[in-house]
Amino acid sequence: MTTNSKDMRKTWEKIADYFRAHSIWMKWYCTGCGAIEMPPTMTSRFDMEQLGMGPMATPRQADVLLITGYLSAKTLRRVIYSYEQMQDPKYVVGFGSCTLNGGIYFDSYATMTRLDHYLPVDLYIAGCMPRPEAIMNAFDTLIKMIEKGEAKGWRHYQENHDWYRKNQLHSLKEVYVKDEFHE
């Protein structure tokens, strides 16, 4: 992501960013195995709520979209759909090596090999799968990024929408979901 080294934000934006950083509601889209390490992160042992993070029921309410693992083409359509439903500012976190470079499924006909080709990823967490400690650490980094105004993926998506859309169409042929076909 391109980031401006100089802080160009206005004062009220800085205040807003403070609030945004310390209250992150996540849309936890269980796209893959990484989802199994989310419950321990959320629940009593690691307790994500200390950081002010919590799960939300629908994409409209959420601030951060967690892509927890490999993405099949079928899921990617729905992920894009969910991402576009979210309200600005919004952030994307990619979990595990599958979102980074395809990971163990690099030669699979069904899964993506890199997520930032289709969605603006603010932060990647390496590992297969990332441990809860790594996830907590990553969220800490995300909070700092938002506070400093560096997590600008959503703006990048708006400005380079054509590029993203071109990539999405190349891989998916059709982005919007028509679910009736299989019934």
Binding site: A16, D47, A57, Q61, D63, Q87, D88
Partner: protein, 303 residues
């Protein structure tokens, strides 16, 4: 009614908001301890609300937008009528009927807005919320009518003052224990706490009416929730727990009741909506009938 009233009302509203939001934050911490974890900071709820208000949001038509504003306005207007302990912004207007009517404006606005989003989950949520309202309101209102009949007043502060005459034992929850139980159960329903939260059940209908709200709209909804919680808990404090001779007494009672309900709600699963209605029409309604009978015919606890 003059300018001072409005300033006073505004300050009371602000106090109510700060108090209730802090209390919600503390309660999140209490619940976290129940669930064996540390929990968020106590001011987390403020950050959440301001964050939501700082975000952008999409509209789903003017009904959607107008409904939220109407709901928030209606609820805030109701909150003005609620006595804040001994303090009252608009004297002589703390009548239960007025509160019930103005409260309905807020509820309707909410229902209108949620249906205006066009999402089927929201419509299901709204219909469940209204069903739920019907279920808890009948036993609750029955008990309240009993009280009004017994003491010839429908003013909240009036009812509270009557209770305070007898000290601790004069509280209606002691004098009319059945009514007190009904009121507490109904309050659980009013607050939308488990087991009566099927209208926002995330696992069933994806948070129901709130499904399409995001950003500013959701922030307003959170504000609305804080105010309506304030109204509902205050109602019970005034009706059954002797109100407050001082602001501090009022707030302590309020906090204890709210925390108690919150803890109860976190060790219970939720009813399905039909089961909730059946439950309300079985246990609380029966208790309410008995209580009203005792008040009106026997006159027990009135003298």
């Amino acid at each position: 009614m003059n300018l001072m009233n409005f300033v006073y009302a505004f300050l009371l509203l602000l106090a109510a908001f700060v108090f209730q939001t802090t209390l919600t934050g503390i309660n999140r911490k209490v619940v976290a301890r129940l669930q064996r974890r540390r929990g968020p900071r106590f001011y987390q709820q403020f950050i959440d609300i301001f964050k939501a208000l700082s975000k952008g949001s999409t509209t789903h038509g003017w009904v959607f937008d107008f409904g939220v504003v109407m709901a928030l306005g209606g609820i805030m207007a109701t909150a003005i009528f609620i006595p804040f302990g001994p303090l009252k912004a608009v004297p002589a207007m703390d009548n239960i009927f007025i509160i019930a009517y103005v409260l309905a404006v807020g509820m309707l606005g909410m229902a209108m807005s949620a249906s205006g989003s066009g999402n089927p989950w929201a419509s299901i949520g709204v219909s469940r919320a209204l069903t739920n309202m019907l279920a808890y309101d009948i036993p609750f209102m029955m008990v309240v009518f009993g009280l009004i009949f017994a003491f010839d007043t429908s003013s909240l502060s009036g009812l509270a003052a009557i209770q305070r005459e007898g000290g601790f034992l004069g509280w209606h929850v002691i004098r009319f224990p059945l009514g007190g139980i009904v009121a507490m159960i109904s309050l659980q329903g009013m607050l939308g706490k488990k087991p009566f939260d099927s209208f926002i059940a995330p696992a069933e209908i994806a948070s129901g009416p709130m499904v399409e709200y995001g950003g500013r709209h959701l922030g307003m909804l959170f504000l609305l929730h804080e105010f309506s919680t304030f109204i509902e808990v205050s109602l019970i404090v005034h009706l059954f727990f002797g109100g407050g001779a001082t602001v501090a007494a009022f707030l302590v009672k309020y906090a204890l009741i709210y925390t108690f309900l919150n803890i109860v709600s976190n060790v219970l699963p939720r009813f399905k909506i039909d089961q909730a209605v059946t439950f309300f029409y079985k246990v609380p309604l029966a208790l309410a009938v008995v209580q009203t009978f005792l008040i009106i015919v026997v006159g027990m606890g009135v003298a």
